[in-house]
């Protein structure tokens, strides 16, 4: 009976293995497709995709100009820090010289290095197992990990460092006993350290232990000789380079690389990253853990794998530093991938175990794909989406004189070949630890020396508090007024300056229209009985609402979410007309988003075109029933005495507002109905220059379009 089962197992086994292979390769193919699509979208995006990109391109520009990037002190501007050794910025120098400052060159370098890292890991597995499937799976698995997908098309140092360190590991794994292999490997490992200093742990440690355990026929003295030679080469060369650079930069190298890099450590960050890693790569983590116990004595490359895993884990733990990102997990991703590939190769002669491994890895790839689509892909979309806003922001930066303070979009300056004045996160960390005196910068902010300051707001996480000290933030808000909100970035301009003149008002209005648009309608508009629902994209209290023209603002005492402005009617000369702005409140609790300048009871307050009134809300007419972020806009004819009509259906009082109360009128209504309708609302099209959003007379959702754009 037992023999029969074995015989049947032997018959079915090869087919099951083939099937499992196909399944894994299909999952991997789809993951590669997602990787490629993500990379293509990211590669040629003009603007920065990450806070850390601009400083590196800025460093490349300065290196190309023959300047030092490691200043020994920050007592005078520019307040910039070069956190990493110079190899990556140096690799961008030829591109910067040839094409000017750009992000694509650095991103292409990173992407190619990611692919190279996958190849080197695959070669390490293949070199000692000759298992093609395991090698291919290792290489592709790396490219399926969300941290790698997200980081590979960024102009950041990490992927170059990973490629150099995995290349070093491959050389030492392939030619462990030759002098040439030793030197090449050592040089590659040194190059990795010269790209990112944290790569000085895992790969060199793995190479050292690997050499120590090589060729057991040799005496321990000989074996340890090779390992010590590698350690001496890597350690000695790195130290010599460090000292040389430190002398040349008069201590600036140490200050930038070490002093300015020791940020506050937060255990909560480590726990959060661990949770995310567990959710995304649970099977890889189990395989990594199992390999720690299973590999010694069973797997040929255990002495390379285990120290690499342990070293990568220790490096990854530094993710607890404030300001760190998932790039701290890139080396751990490589180590886990290597562990998976190594165990897959080891299981080749154990058919059922191999089938299990192949199926588990296929499921792991699925889990990684899900994490990639929910993480890096969504993140990338969020960065690419506000194209028009980014262009507007670039225009604002372009037309502003130096110096400009910026955080997330400091790269707008870099793109215009203008040096960075500040890296706010880095200097804030130094100020928090008492290593940098911010007095001069605060004085400059208070003196309004900056024509614009850009402060970025991430949704759901107050990252600006890590990037700017509380003193800087209060100096900015006291001396500067927020004038624009573009791509989640607040544009601050000095209070008292001619704010309107510098605003790209034409981009906020339809060409030739007498009034500007009251708000952004990224998601379209809802046209109903001559009242507009203008739908902005974003959460409540984010999308600004502006005055459409000069006028006198009124906010009655019972108006929680609405204001109205009286204007000279540009369409019916000699008459008065009101623009009405409603639903500027939270749909949950009715919290008003109207700016404090216009409290309830305001009457006849002069306002200028484009003046900020508040932010779009989700108010639907009753609390606890929020709807999509929007602005309720209407053009209302004034009464004979010029006042605002009190009996406006659907406008006031808001508490009684209900969409059912608003009569739906067909486009071609009877003249009598139309007259009655005009009594409380006018067609806003002539005022705003927009296209009416009615299809066959039925009000409906349409994109917010200007009349000129109609074919």
């Amino acid at each position: 009976m037992n023999q029969q089962v074995k015989k049947q197992g032997a018959l079915i086994g090869p087919f099951l293995e083939d099937g499992a292979k196909v399944m894994l390769l299909m999952f991997l193919s789809l993951a590669m497709f997602i990787f490629a699509l993500h990379a293509l979208l990211a590669l040629f995006h003009r603007y920065p995709l990450d806070y850390g990109e601009a400083p590196l391109v800025d460093q490349a520009v300065r290196l190309a100009a023959g300047q030092s990037i490691y200043r020994p002190d920050l007592s005078s501007p520019p307040y910039t820090i070069s956190n990493y050794p110079p190899l990556y910025p140096l690799s961008m120098v030829p591109f910067v010289k040839l094409f000017g400052p750009n992000f694509w060159a650095g991103r292409i370098i990173s992407l190619l290095c990611t692919l190279a890292s996958g190849v080197f890991l695959a070669l390490i597995v293949y070199a000692h197992s000759q298992d093609r499937l395991a090698a291919v799976a290792t290489g592709l698995l790396l490219l399926a990990i969300p941290y790698v997908v997200g980081w590979s098309p960024l102009a950041r140092v990490d992927m170059l460092a990973l490629a150099l360190s995995t290349a070093g590991l491959y050389v030492v794994a392939r030619w462990p006993t030759t002098w040439r292999g030793l030197v090449v490997s050592a040089l590659l490992l040194v190059a990795a350290i010269c790209t990112r200093q944290s790569f000085g742990l895992a790969a060199p440690l793995a190479a050292f232990v690997w050499l120590l355990t090589q060729d057991r026929r040799q005496a321990l003295r000989l074996r340890s000789g090779q390992a010590l030679k590698l350690a001496a080469l890597v350690g000695g060369t790195s130290l010599a380079l460090f000292l040389a650079l430190n002398v040349v930069t008069r201590g600036g190298f140490f200050y930038n690389i070490v002093t300015a890099n020791v940020n506050e450590f937060d255990m909560e960050r480590v726990q959060r990253s661990w949770r995310e890693l567990r959710e995304a790569a649970s099977i890889l983590l189990i395989i990594g853990g199992v390999s720690l116990f299973l590999a010694p004595g069973r797997v040929k490359t255990w002495s390379l794998l285990i120290p690499y895993l342990i070293g990568a884990c220790l490096s990854a733990a530094t993710i607890g530093k404030i300001g760190s990102n998932v790039n701290y997990l890139v080396e751990l991703s490589a180590a886990l991938t290597l562990a998976a590939g190594t165990l897959l190769a080891w299981s080749r002669k154990r058919r059922w175990l191999r089938v299990l491994m192949l199926i588990l890895l296929a499921l792991q790839v699925g889990q990684l794909m899900k994490a990639t689509l929910d993480g890096p892909v969504e993140g990338l979309k969020w960065r690419l989406q506000p194209k028009k806003e980014l262009k507007d922001l670039e225009w604002i930066v372009e037309t502003a004189d130096d110096p400009v303070l910026a955080d997330e979009f400091a790269g707008m300056l870099t793109l215009q070949n203008r040096p960075l004045y500040i890296q706010p996160f880095e200097v804030t960390q130094l100020a928090n630890t008492g290593l940098w005196d911010q007095t001069d910068l605060l004085a400059s902010i208070c003196n309004q020396e900056f024509p614009i300051i850009l402060v970025h707001h991430f949704q759901g996480y107050p990252v600006y508090k890590e990037r700017w000290t509380p003193e800087m933030l209060s100096a900015i808000t006291e001396n500067y007024a927020s004038t624009d909100f573009l791509a989640q970035t607040i544009v601050f301009r000095p209070r008292g300056s001619d704010i309107e003149g510098s605003e790209p008002a034409s981009r906020e209005a339809c060409p030739g229209a007498p009034w500007r648009l009251p708000s952004r309608g990224d998601m379209g508009m809802w046209w109903i009985t001559y009242q507009l629902g203008i739908m902005g994209e974003g959460y409540e209290n984010q999308v600004p609402v502006y005055a459409v023209a000069d006028g006198l603002l009124t906010r009655r005492p019972d108006w929680n979410s609405a204001v109205a402005i009286q204007h000279d009617d540009p369409v019916r000369p000699g008459e008065k007309v009101w623009s009405f702005y409603g639903d500027i409140a939270s749909g949950e609790n009715g919290e008003s988003f109207i700016v404090p300048d216009f409290p309830p009871g305001s009457e006849g307050v002069p306002v200028k075109t484009g003046q900020l009134l508040g932010y779009q809300g989700t108010w639907s007419g009753s609390p606890g029933r929020p709807i999509w972020t929007h602005l309720h806009f209407a053009v209302v004819p004034a009464l004979e005495d010029g006042s605002f009509p009190s009996e406006i259906v659907g406008l006031v009082p808001e508490e009684e507002f209900s969409p059912e109360d608003i009569p739906l009128l067909p486009e071609e209504a009877e003249p009598s109905s139309r007259e009655a309708e005009i009594e409380f609302a006018l067609d806003p099209s002539p005022y705003l220059g927009t296209v009416r959003s009615q299809v066959m007379g039925v009000p409906t959702w349409l994109p917010l379009r200007c009349q000129e754009s109609v074919p």
Partner: protein
């Protein structure tokens, strides 16, 4: 079917039933999976689509993509059913025939499982 010597090949009736059943199963499932593949394609597209809504450009593109996927998958499935049928007929009982069954079933299982992750 005749062997090399021109004599009729003796086939195990059980294996014939198994092979026919597997071929029919894989063919039918491949046609049923046309919609699953379309769902996978559209879900990935939706993850990368920048804007949403009935009037978004991406909506029309998604419609075209869905129809394109249906056409391509219909051709692929017919190819699988006819091509695999021919292959199994010519290589009945051979390891490569069972191997092709294993590949087809694995691919179909993978297609069924993939939407769980996308």
């Amino acid at each position: 079917m005749l062997d090399r010597n021109g004599l009729p090949i003796k086939r195990d009736p059980g294996l014939v039933v198994l092979a026919v059943a597997l071929w029919m199963l894989t063919s039918v499932v491949s046609f049923l999976e046309i919609l699953t593949v379309r769902a996978i394609v559209l879900r990935i597209y939706a993850h990368f689509a920048m804007t949403y809504g009935f009037y978004a450009r991406e909506y029309l593109a998604a419609q075209a993509l869905g129809i394109g996927t249906l056409v391509v998958m219909a051709i692929v499935c017919m190819g699988v059913a006819i091509g695999c049928g021919e292959y199994h007929l010519n290589n009945f009982g051979q390891p490569q025939s069972w191997k092709l069954f294993a590949w087809t079933i694995a691919a179909e299982v993978a297609i069924l499982v993939l939407p769980l992750f996308i």
